[in-house]
Every structure is written in structure tokens, then in C-alpha cells.
């Protein structure tokens, strides 16, 4: 019979914890959220010996158990709550060989919780190169635990770690630091009042909120907070936490003096040389800008080939379905609703994969922290910090992970502002809209031989989104009446060659969750749209064929042209036609007809629905196998004449999509992260108004 145990992977950021997690679990992993909050939860399964299965939880990176952000509080909550489903049978603290001193701080804290704890020292393959020697036996004796040397990168020591996990029952759970020496009298009173509780656990519960806002927890702990023991002022508790840190470091320094030897003469490294260039006041920014340019050009250029291919594939697939299956509502739903809807999802895959690929590459290599460093001073002026840059850059992939990435920002005001402005950055859902409109209204020309005019337009739109985000941050910083306690402490990790496996897993996981998440909405909307477009009321709809035939009887139209007129007439009098006509007065000043109006309204759920909607509307109107782009090109403006998608209406649409908050999923995430409906409501209203007036202004000036 197979048994299953819980293993928690805990460690400082940048220790290669995720690489180790990937080594242990491979593709047997899934990403979810902790119940009630949106901190990412990575779980995976690892098979051990003797039918034992390890259920491995990759906890967010943290420097200590003293919480100062939501991510960190998740770690503490998991370790404190013995009744939790995730409570570990064994904790694996991942440390990296070059920062072992700092990593041990977290280790001693977890050890004090009397959970069986293994110390896994990662990047052990570098020991020789860095001339580091470590007395493992002595270390195990002093720390009362099992120490394992591993290298996730070189795939070394993984089996030793698995063995150690298998034998978790033999681990000693004695603490290694006596935390109560920081205030013996206080701790003695605490012990007397709660004789059955673990002392260090009580201490953590008491201090949880000192550096960080409210956290949900068991009722028992809630009682503790209100009991007579809350007599220490926040200042006193902070002072004691400082003292605790000093005590722990004294222990660690004493230990490392005995077990660790580093020959510093070998310690000349590449890092400072690279930093000289990458953080240079001119070269640093230039390199950052070039990297961004490369990413955008690549996404626009490279992904266009698979995208065209997917586009045509689905168009012909739809046509084949329509021809080969017997005619009827079901075939029609399949060929005109479901298949184009599906195509509208699949077509994003190349671009999303490219974006996540580049972001993962920058994160993995350690460059992202340099970006934070470079940008902090600039961002500070707008009420943000360098840490807001990562959410804003991630926002170019998708606002949802970007909003979640704000969780390591300690200051609430800074975090709220970042959350509110992130949806301005150009997410990948805007890309299909941008790409198709740019292709229609911007000439495909090279300027100065290297820059493509269409690519440049796309770049401008990205800059516009980023500018809108920064500018609104500045405004929000001025008008939001929230006090801040901002400080900025960030580790600069060593440069690393990105691991193909890690980047690959990130790309696959993120793309999958995006496609499945957005896919459901797009699919549902496609079907609803098809129904609304295929049915209508009254004679105008049901007798469309007769009416149109009579009307054009004298004109001697070809059969094809007549069929098109009938379909068009039908659509105009279907449910969706009435809805579109209803909102037409509102969108006409922006240069749109009622069909675009429908596409805009339905894309309030998710931007990428825009193209899918047009596909549905146009293919209902004309079932011939044309790609959407060609179909859009043929549209004429019913009032002004000329092509419907011209320069003025195109720019107007681009601006509308640049600013409008059209993503239900993001609004839902913002609601969860800010724990109120107020902020997403304000965000939605403000962005929509800005979008409307920007589009209105652009069309009226350019037409």
C-alpha cells in the first residue's frame, strides 16, 4: 500500500529552491492558490522508496519567519497550523552554499518549531571552484539534523535528499537556539499561561502582525492576541525581534567558525564585472532598452508565422466542417461558433509562450533584480519603488500574475497603486487586437532599413501603456490618503545561466493556465454570441430570404451576392443586431459601426474576445473561407464610405484597447487582493472613461 507524506520546501529567495522542486517533481506539478488568498501554491508529487509518496509543497521564498509580506505570512501560517492539510511531516530548508550564513537564520527558526527538518545545501557543485570546505558531520551534530549536499543544476545529491526524506522519522526535533534568552522573564510568564503550547510558536503568533498587517488564523491564536499577554508595545516587540536575530546570528557564526572554511583568495567573481556594465548609468539603461526592444520585435516578428498558420488552419477547418457535416443548427454552431472560438484561443499560444519565455529567462538569470535596482530611483518619483517594475513588466504578459506579483511589496500604499495601474501595461490579450488592427491600418514598411513601421507602432503602444501606468501612479500617489512606511531592501542574486528545464516548465505551466483560464471565458462567449447572432424575432428575421430576394429582384444579383445580402439582413435583425444597434449611438463618435460596438461590449469580459467576436459575426454573415483579416479589410463604413477600418478609426480602436479595463479575471483578482469591491470598481470606471475619451479625441482629430 502506498503511503503519502507532506514535504515543505522552504528557503530564501534565489537559493535554487524552484530548481530543486522541479528536479524532485518534474512535470508532476500543479499551480494553484491557497484557500481564500491568491498566493501561488506549487505542489508536486515525488515517488520515494518502499511505496512512499512525497507530496511536495514549494513555499514562497522568505528570509525569515518574521513576516513583512503576504508571501512570507503564508509560510508562517503553513508551519503554525498543525491541522492544516499542508502541514509538513518534514520540512526541507534549501540553502545555497555561498550564502549559508544567512540561510541558516531561517533554518534555526524552523528547527525551533520542532518540525523534523532537513538542511539541503544547494549549488554544492560550486564548492570546489569557490574553495569552500564544509564539515558535514560536525554540522549535523551541532544542528541536530540531517544535512544533504545537492546540486539541482547538476542533478547531484537528489537521491540522498530523497533518502533523507524517506527516513524523516529518525530526525531529531530538538531546537538549536533557545529564543527565550532575549527576555527570560517574559517567556517564563508565557510558558506558565500556556503550558501545552510550544514557546517559539507562541512568540511567532504574538509577533506576526508587528511588521505586517492582519493575517487570518485559528481562533486559538486570536484569543492569545487579546489576552493579558499583549502587554508589550509594538516597539518592544520589534526590539526583541532585533535581539532574537542577533542571538541567532551569534549561534550561526559560532557554528560556521567550526565547520566552514573558505579560501577567499579564489573568490574573484564575474558578478562585479557584469554589474559594472549592466548597472552603468548609460550602458545599463541602453541594455535594458535593447532587451525590451528585442522582446517586442521578436514577439511581433517570430510569432507571426505560427499565428498565420493557425489562423488559416482554423478557417479551413471551419469550412471543411460546414461542408462535410449535414446542414443544421448543430453544424452551424460547430463551424461558426465553437471552431472560430477555439481558434481565437489557440492563436495566442505562440505569443504568450514567447513572452513567458523571455520573462522566465530574465528572472532565472538574475537580471530582473538589476532592473529593479536601475529603476528604483525613477519609480520613487511616481510613488512606486523598483519592486513595482517586475509587476509592470510581468503585466506585459498578463495582468493577473502581475497583480499577484505585487505581494512582495511591503508597503500597502505602494502595493495598492501598483495593483491599480498594472492593467494599463500592454498584456498579451491586447496583442491580437493590436496585431490585427495594425496590420489593417499601418503600412508594412521598413524605415531606416532595420525598423518595421508596424513593429514600431506596437512598441509605441507598449510605451503608451507603460506611460499611462506611471502617470496614473503619480496621480494616485498624490490623491490617495494612505500613510506609507516604505523601505527598500533587496537581495542582488548572483548571475546564473538559466536552466532550460526551469524555463521550459514555467513556459508550459503559465501558457497552459492562461489558455485554459481565458479559454473558458472565450469559449462561453463565442457560443452565446453565436446563439444571439443566429436567432432573432419577427418577420424581418424569419422571412429575411423572402424580403431580400424581393427587394433585389430587379437588380439581377449573382447567387453569391444575394446570399451575402440575406445573411447580412438576418444578422442585422438577430438579437445581437438589436443589441449592436442599441449601442451604436455611443460608439459612432469613435468611428465604429454597430458590429465593432458588439465586439467591444463582449470584450469587456476579456479583450481577446474582440477578434473572436468579429470572426463569429463575419462568418455568420459570410460562411466562405476567408481569414478574418481579409474580411475586415472588405468592410465599408456605412455612413462615411471608404474602408471601415481606416487610419482614424484604427487609431481610435487601438487607444480604446490601450486604456480600457476589459478583463473580468483581473477585476476578480484585484477584488481578492484588495479585499474590497471598491478598488476594482474605481479601476474599471476610471479606465473605461479614459479609454472612451482618448478614442473619441483621436477619431475626431484624425478623421
Amino acid at each position: 500500500m502506498s503511503r503519502s507524506i507532506n514535504v515543505s520546501l522552504i528557503g530564501n529567495p534565489n537559493t535554487g529552491k524552484t530548481s530543486l522542486f522541479n528536479r524532485l517533481t518534474g512535470l508532476n506539478q500543479k499551480v494553484g492558490n491557497y484557500p481564500g488568498i491568491t498566493v501561488e501554491k506549487k505542489e508536486g508529487v515525488c515517488k520515494l522508496d518502499r511505496g512512499l509518496k512525497a507530496h511536495i509543497l514549494d513555499l514562497p521564498g522568505t528570509y525569515s519567519l518574521n513576516t513583512s509580506s503576504l508571501d512570507e505570512s503564508v509560510v508562517v501560517e503553513t508551519l503554525l497550523n498543525r491541522n492544516s492539510r499542508d502541514f509538513p511531516d518534514v520540512a526541507v530548508v534549501v540553502s545555497d552554499i555561498e550564502n549559508i550564513k544567512r540561510n541558516l537564520l531561517l533554518f534555526t527558526q524552523i528547527k525551533d518549531l520542532e518540525i523534523p527538518t532537513i538542511l539541503a545545501i544547494n549549488m554544492a557543485d560550486r564548492m570546489q571552484r569557490k574553495a569552500i570546505t564544509l564539515d558535514i558531520e560536525l554540522m549535523e551534530a551541532e544542528l541536530n539534523t540531517k544535512v544533504v549536499l545537492v546540486s539541482a543544476r547538476k542533478n547531484q545529491g537528489i537521491n540522498d535528499l530523497k533518502d533523507a526524506i524517506t527516513q524523516y522519522k529518525t530526525l531529531n526535533t530538538q531546537p538549536c537556539v533557545n529564543a527565550s534568552v532575549i527576555d527570560p522573564e517574559y517567556f517564563a510568564r508565557l510558558k506558565k499561561a500556556y503550558p501545552h503550547q510550544l514557546l517559539y510558536k507562541l512568540w511567532l503568533v504574538i509577533t506576526q502582525d508587528v511588521n505586517f498587517g492582519k493575517v487570518e488564523r485559528d481562533r486559538d491564536y486570536e484569543k492569545l492576541k487579546t489576552s493579558s499577554f499583549d502587554i508589550k508595545s509594538e516597539e518592544d516587540l520589534k526590539r526583541l525581534q532585533h535581539k532574537e536575530t542577533v542571538v541567532r546570528y551569534q549561534f550561526i557564526n559560532g557554528l560556521l567558525k567550526k565547520v566552514l572554511h573558505v579560501d577567499t583568495s579564489h573568490a574573484k567573481d564575474l558578478r562585479s564585472k557584469l554589474d559594472r556594465i549592466l548597472l552603468h548609468k548609460v550602458w545599463g539603461y541602453l541594455i535594458f532598452f535593447l532587451i525590451l526592444l528585442l522582446i517586442f520585435q521578436a514577439i511581433y516578428d517570430w510569432s507571426s508565422y505560427p499565428m498565420d498558420w493557425i489562423d488559416e488552419l482554423f478557417a479551413s477547418f471551419s469550412a471543411i466542417t460546414a461542408e462535410s457535416l449535414p446542414a443544421g443548427p448543430f453544424t452551424s454552431l460547430l463551424a461558426e461558433g465553437i471552431i472560430p472560438g477555439l481558434g481565437g484561443i489557440v492563436i495566442f499560444i505562440p505569443q504568450i509562450a514567447f513572452l513567458f519565455f523571455f520573462i522566465a529567462l530574465l528572472e532565472e538569470s538574475g537580471y530582473m533584480s538589476r532592473v529593479v535596482f536601475l529603476m528604483d530611483h525613477i519609480m520613487k518619483k511616481f510613488g512606486l519603488s523598483g519592486k513595482s517594475v517586475v509587476p509592470l513588466v510581468s503585466g506585459t504578459a498578463c495582468a493577473i500574475p502581475a497583480v499577484m506579483a505585487t505581494r512582495n511589496i511591503e508597503d500597502w500604499k505602494e502595493r495598492l497603486i501598483t495593483i491599480l495601474v498594472v492593467p494599463f501595461t500592454t498584456c498579451s490579450a491586447r496583442l491580437p487586437v493590436y496585431l490585427i488592427i495594425i496590420a489593417l491600418v499601418i503600412p508594412d514598411r521598413d524605415i531606416w532599413w532595420i525598423f518595421n513601421l508596424q513593429g514600431l507602432t506596437l512598441m509605441l503602444l507598449y510605451l503608451l501603456g507603460f506611460g499611462a501606468a506611471i502617470f496614473s501612479a503619480w496621480v494616485l500617489n498624490k490623491i490617495l490618503p494612505i500613510k506609507r512606511k516604505s523601505f527598500f531592501v533587496m537581495e542582488m542574486p548572483a548571475y546564473k545561466l538559466p536552466m532550460f528545464k526551469n524555463v521550459g516548465i514555467t513556459v508550459v505551466e503559465k501558457t497552459k493556465s492562461f489558455v485554459l483560464g481565458a479559454g473558458k471565458i472565450i469559449m462561453a462567449i463565442s457560443i452565446v454570441l453565436w446563439i444571439l447572432a443566429s436567432y432573432g424575432l419577427g418577420d424581418q428575421f424569419t422571412k429575411a430570404e423572402q424580403i431580400v430576394t424581393e427587394k433585389y429582384a430587379s437588380q439581377n444579383l449573382s447567387d453569391k451576392a444575394l446570399q451575402q445580402k440575406i445573411a447580412s439582413h438576418k444578422l442585422e435583425h438577430s438579437f445581437i443586431g438589436y443589441i449592436g444597434k442599441g449601442i451604436e449611438p455611443a460608439v459612432r463618435p469613435l468611428g465604429y459601426d454597430w458590429k465593432i460596438g458588439i465586439a467591444i461590449v463582449s470584450s469587456f469580459a476579456a479583450r481577446e474576445v474582440f477578434v473572436g467576436t468579429l470572426a463569429t459575426i463575419y462568418s455568420v454573415e459570410n460562411a466562405e473561407e476567408e481569414t478574418i483579416k481579409n474580411r475586415m479589410q472588405a468592410e465599408t463604413n456605412p455612413i462615411l464610405g471608404g474602408p471601415l477600418f481606416n487610419f482614424a478609426s484604427g487609431i481610435s480602436l487601438l487607444l480604446f484597447y490601450a486604456f480600457a479595463m476589459q478583463c473580468m479575471s483581473t477585476l476578480a483578482i484585484v477584488k481578492r487582493e484588495t479585499v474590497s469591491w471598491k478598488w476594482p470598481a474605481i479601476q474599471f470606471a476610471a479606465m473605461t472613461l479614459i479609454a472612451y475619451f482618448a478614442a473619441l479625441g483621436a477619431f475626431q482629430i484624425l478623421k
Binding site: Y63, N211, H242, D376
Partner: protein, 76 residues
């Protein structure tokens, strides 16, 4: 005036002595910024802020306003 981390020149090494105010973030201590430890000024960001330090082997970026609160002794 006492010398602080903010006064260090590029490449200069000093010993952390004390904190000017009690509200120095706990996180900084946890990263190894403790009295007695060595601090090396690696480099400043463009516009002189934030600054990039090596404290006790950890490479850290902090803002100048925080660096002003940490007194140092010269390292000989």
C-alpha cells in the same frame, strides 16, 4: 558627524557599528546587517540611489535614506 554607510565611496570597506534609529527594518538585520559585520560599498545606481552593498557576503540594494541610519567604523 558620524560616518554612515551612505558616506562610503565605491570599493570602500567599513565595519557596521550601530543604528541611529530603532526603525531600521528587521529585514536588513536578517540579511546580515548587524553590528560587527563588514560592509563594502559596491556601487551606486544611476542618480546615486539606491546603493548596492556587500554586507557579510550578501549582496544587497538599499536606499540612501536607510543607509544614512547605519553608523560605521573604518576598517583597517
Amino acid at each position: 558627524m558620524e560616518k554612515t554607510i551612505a558616506h562610503l565611496k565605491r570599493g570602500e570597506i567599513a565595519i557596521i557599528k550601530s543604528f541611529k534609529e530603532t526603525d531600521v527594518p528587521l529585514k536588513l538585520l536578517e540579511m546580515g546587517c548587524l553590528p560587527g559585520n563588514l560592509v563594502t560599498m559596491m556601487q551606486s545606481a544611476p542618480f546615486q540611489d539606491p546603493i548596492y552593498l556587500n554586507i557579510n557576503g550578501t549582496h544587497l540594494a538599499i536606499r540612501r535614506e536607510t543607509a544614512c541610519k547605519i553608523n560605521v567604523d573604518p576598517y583597517v
